[in-house]
Amino acid sequence: MTEPAVVITGLKKSFGPLEVLKDIDLTVAPGEVVCIIGPSGSGKSTMLRCVNLLEEPTGGKIVVNGVEMTDPDVDIDRARTKIGMVFQGFNLFAHLSVINNLTVAQRKVLKRGEKEAEEVARHNLERVGLSEKANAMPAQLSGGQQQRVAIARALSMSPEVMLFDEPTSALDPELVGDVLGVMRQLADEGMTMLVVTHEMQFAREVADKVLFMDGGYVVEQGPAAEVIGNPQHDRTKSFLARVLNPTHQDPTD
């Protein structure tokens, strides 16, 4: 059996008195795509951000590709180069052109040469279908294009795992498809992915595993068809009913 890509055990996270993550366990196999769903404020982003230690866990253990992220002596900057992250708000470096957004960390962190960094960058721009935008500034791109550039920037570090935090939530509806298309292709190529999303269609078709979170716990997890198609818990059922049919009213409300 191969070593799992991500192992989270007993993860806890509090912000002051607010206990956001109470006890999270999750194992992700290499090449697996895990979609994380759940109501607003349930701690999805917090969990994802704990994986690359943008948030410091209060308790528990996180191991990514054999590196224990929660070890106090871990070289966190080095560990993060292997974990790509894509944010809801894109977060492209506003003062750098697209190509420089893709090369800056390769050069300064991975110490790749100029030529190599640019080759890698152009290859990844091509993967997201934006070769012709290499010299554009982020502000000149649409939201969908910016998010694809952000994905290409993360891929340029040659990561082993990719984290996506609601990558399409800030996009106009007609731009969502392009970004999901890129993610789908990435999944097909065998990338290990953790995706926080409200796109149930995407989760159903692409995810190997779906995780439903609520109140700081994983309420339910399993194959997409089961969690989305045939949820066992009431909270999962009412959440899905609300997401899939926005005009739906809970009988208890």
Partner: protein, 263 residues
């Protein structure tokens, strides 16, 4: 007959113009144009001021200001970073420095560096160092606050993106935060440069040689020599040649960076 609101506004504007014309006419009659011309626009004196007023005075004003600004900017950046430090004593030191030097006249700093500190510590600064250090110390206090505000105005997401790519805290600061902060604070920094241009005149306290004169002292000396205000007028005009374009630049930059939202 009652006037409409618009008619009343129009009439009021007419009165304002009329008042202005009356004031100008009175002023033109009362003023002694011959004396004014002799005192302020003596072309003979003017011609004697050139070329030194440019080659010496204007040049030195620019040199003193540029040196003071450059050193002050560096010191201001250090103070801004101290002010944002997680280590409390750094923050205290920076706060005390900033509040102290913003709260006293720049003149006192010049006096201290020209007379007090050499006496107290048995060191001597040449005039160029004195003016550079004094301007830098005063300018840094103002620029530190501006730079700190600029650094804090850089969206958090930019820092998170940099850290998620494996950049260390220092590298993130240097490659992402500070370049963007400077874009944000370019307009206020330009205003700071205008202030320093004027403060460079405080060098008049120090007994400088002729080759080290800047615009104000040059103008005052020439005024004593030739009698009349013409040299002061020329000096003032040359200050404006520096400061007006800077002000224009500042407003343009403000429009430029203010209009664009950083994602």
């Amino acid at each position: 007959m009652a006037l409409t609101k618009r008619q009343r506004a129009k009439a009021f504007r007419g009165v304002q113009y009329g008042l202005l014309v009356v004031i100008l006419i009175v002023f033109a009659f009362v003023a002694d144009w011959g004396t004014i011309k002799r005192a302020f626009f003596d072309f003979e004196v003017m011609s004697k001021l050139f070329p030194d007023v440019i080659l010496v005075a204007l040049k030195n004003t620019i040199i003193y200001t540029a040196l003071g600004f450059a050193v002050g900017l560096l010191l201001g950046l250090v103070l801004a970073l101290m002010k944002l430090s997680p280590v409390p004593p750094y923050r205290w030191i920076a706060t005390i420095y900033i509040e102290f030097f913003r709260g006293i006249p720049a003149l006192l700093v010049f006096i201290a560096f020209n007379f007090g500190i050499p006496l107290a510590f048995q060191v001597r600064f040449d005039n160029l160092s004195t003016v550079t250090i004094s301007l830098a110390i005063v300018g840094a206090a103002y620029m530190a606050e501006t730079i700190r505000a600029g650094i804090q105005a850089v969206p958090k997401g930019q820092i998170e993106a940099a850290r998620s790519l494996g950049m260390s805290q220092g590298r993130t600061m240097a490659t992402v935060v500070i370049p963007q902060a400077f874009r944000i604070i370019l307009p206020p920094l330009t205003n700071e440069l205008i202030m320093l241009t004027k403060d460079s005149s405080l060098i008049y306290l120090i007994g400088v040689q002729y080759e080290q004169l800047e615009l104000t002292k040059f103008g005052r000396d020439a005024m004593n020599q030739y009698r009349g205000m013409t040299p002061i007028l020329v000096a003032g005009a040359l200050y404006l040649i520096i400061t007006l374009p800077l002000g224009y630049l500042s407003r343009r930059l403000e429009r430029h960076t203010g209009g664009k939202k950083v994602s």
